[in-house]
Symmetry: C2
């Protein structure tokens, strides 16, 4: 046997072994790497599929913004399978969880399955280290299921393989949501204190309306910088929601709002722009400094948007935020970040107002 033949046989044997190893995985699942397959909730196409924006294209962006754009908030995989068990192997960076965060939300996976036309929670992928493996749901009825698996909200996903039973079907589908509504914002938009990736409020809006709300939440850094505005206009969307009052100072809101709004308006002349006041900071219930800062931010954004409307900027809307978190002061984890309870109350207020505006522009869910 010549050397080349031997090499070939070894390679073929290694390949077979790999296949066998796959089938004999501890959860008895066969995995597909989804890196090169279509993903749901993508803000822009990117080289690294799990990044939100290719930051190399935007050198002027602040370093913190670039970093946050590598986190997979809002990205999901839409697929069908007839497997009765669904698992995953995924890797994230070794970031320390925030003390106000649930690891499942930060680094985990969140699976929904369509039932009677509704996306219904099915299970989570629990993270324990950089590279993780787990069954999200099992013991299901037979038959084909339409699935939506959300990626980690607050970490960079470096790889993802979805596992189904041997001989089960597995097909990745295009984004199930219609139109594109970009939400640019803060940690609240990104979903800092959601319990699971699918509970960040843009994700909930998508599942509940059928419209594609895209998560451009930037924890602590949705500050309306010029470089951010110049990046945002490259994101083609049917509507732009600006939920970015929480991070910039009142002075920055004064200086930056007009450029952001005018830049979007010029690049996307017909798309409605909806500005949302910041939620009440429960940290300001007794801390007068926090209370004043948020009041000043919210006053300044109304002043700026009103001035722009008066100056003739069309299709520009303002949603006020006074009771976005209810009235019992119990809807945040730390006085700043809404929990799932906070998001639920926000959506009760925001969703009908957003939908009403979008409807005027023919933007409606499937």
């Amino acid at each position: 046997m010549d050397h080349l033949k031997l090499k070939f046989i070894i390679a073929a044997w290694a390949l077979c072994l790999t296949v066998v190893v796959k089938a004999q995985d501890k959860n008895q699942l066969v995995y597909t790497d989804v890196a090169s397959l279509p993903l749901t909730g993508k803000v822009l196409p990117t080289k690294n599929p799990y990044h939100r924006v290719d930051t190399a294209t935007y050198p002027a962006l602040p370093k913190a913004v670039k970093y946050l754009l590598t986190q997979s908030a809002g990205i999901a995989v839409h697929f069908t399978t007839n497997s009765t068990k669904i698992g995953a192997k995924w890797c994230v960076k070794d970031n320390k969880p925030g003390v106000n965060q649930v690891p499942i939300n930060q680094k985990g996976l969140d699976l929904y399955i369509k039932r009677d036309g509704q996306w219904v929670f099915a299970g989570v992928g629990k993270p324990s280290k950089e590279c993780n493996e787990g069954v999200l749901v099992q013991n299901m009825e037979s038959g084909t299921k339409e699935c939506l698996m959300y990626l980690p909200t607050y970490d960079e996903t470096t790889s993802l393989q979805i596992g189904v039973e041997k001989n089960a079907s597995f097909r990745v589908l295009p984004d199930p949501f219609s139109k594109r509504i970009l939400i640019y914002g803060s940690s609240i938009t990104q979903g800092a204190a959601a319990s699971r990736p699918g509970m960040a409020y843009p994700a909930r809006l998508s599942r509940e309306t059928g419209l594609n709300f895209l998560n451009l939440g930037l924890s602590g850094n949705g500050k309306m910088e010029k470089a951010a505005a110049d990046m945002i206009i490259d994101i083609d969307a049917d509507a732009y929601i600006l939920d970015c009052v929480a991070n910039p100072s009142p002075e920055q809101i004064k200086e930056r709002t007009a450029y952001l709004v005018n830049t979007i308006r010029k690049a996307h002349p017909k798309a409605p722009i909806i500005v949302i006041q910041s939620v009440v900071r429960e940290g300001g219930n007794f801390d007068q400094v926090i209370r004043k800062r948020v009041a000043d931010q919210n006053t300044e954004i109304v002043r700026q948007v009103t001035a722009l409307q008066n100056a003739g900027v069309k299709d520009l809307y303002m949603i006020k935020g006074k009771s976005l978190l209810g009235t019992d002061h119990e809807a945040t984890v730390d006085g700043t970040h809404p929990t799932d309870l906070g998001f639920d109350r926000m959506l009760t207020e925001l969703k009908p107002q957003i939908i009403d505006i979008l409807k005027k522009y023919g933007i409606a869910g499937k």
Copy 2:
């Protein structure tokens, strides 16, 4: 100078130094150790003030139950101060946080201040290691505040000092809630996936009703063992709520319910006993095994309670749990544990039913 005098001078100097060190603390606060002061929400008096039950007194309890009873779930400090800044130094054990848990809830502190007769969220103590130090709220108006600071829900608190400004008043008060209603249960009762210690549902019930709901939630271990029943009867209460269907198997529910209920009834002949069905497990939306187990648990508890009622056990009530988490399947972190959203929905259902029963027995909040 004789030796004794020298010793005295050194001791006095050390004492002064301690005082100076206290006053020059990095947050400019003066701390009081509350270990020997009255605590709120105590199930039983204990040698270690931050334990819920002295487990040495109950050698027959399962090891896991003993361990969980060292965790400070539901314990709080009620105090007044005229300080405009409140901080704390506290130590917990080095337990790894659960992937479904927020560290602030597991190991942190949660502060409320009374405003217009309502307990209003003021701030949290953020944990980062075993011994922590932080400001919970600052920049407050002058004047005396009535405060309630909850201890960690899912860890053993080994020490707690509360800090107020130099020259500010600080006075620990007795438990502000009236009567005593014990809630024996699972991780749901203990508050596994609450966002903060004060968001576990017994704590919310206390603040909202003025009644003293005592947290005897035992994560994964509220299994109605004989030894647990024999311990529970030592806890003097005006009512007993049994929210302990989640952990025992249907067979254990069948075997153990009668002993638990009869033992409480015998020891506390006049106290109402309220049994609550388990919340729907969202993990059973598609997993047929989970779905069947929870259905069997809930069926069995109804069967057992009905049999006891039919056998003549008085003042025994059953609250059914079908829609305790709402209908959108979004109220848990992991398919099992309600988030703050889940607790909010549970209370919407449970609170009026519990209050109605308690009222019949003259048990009403201040």
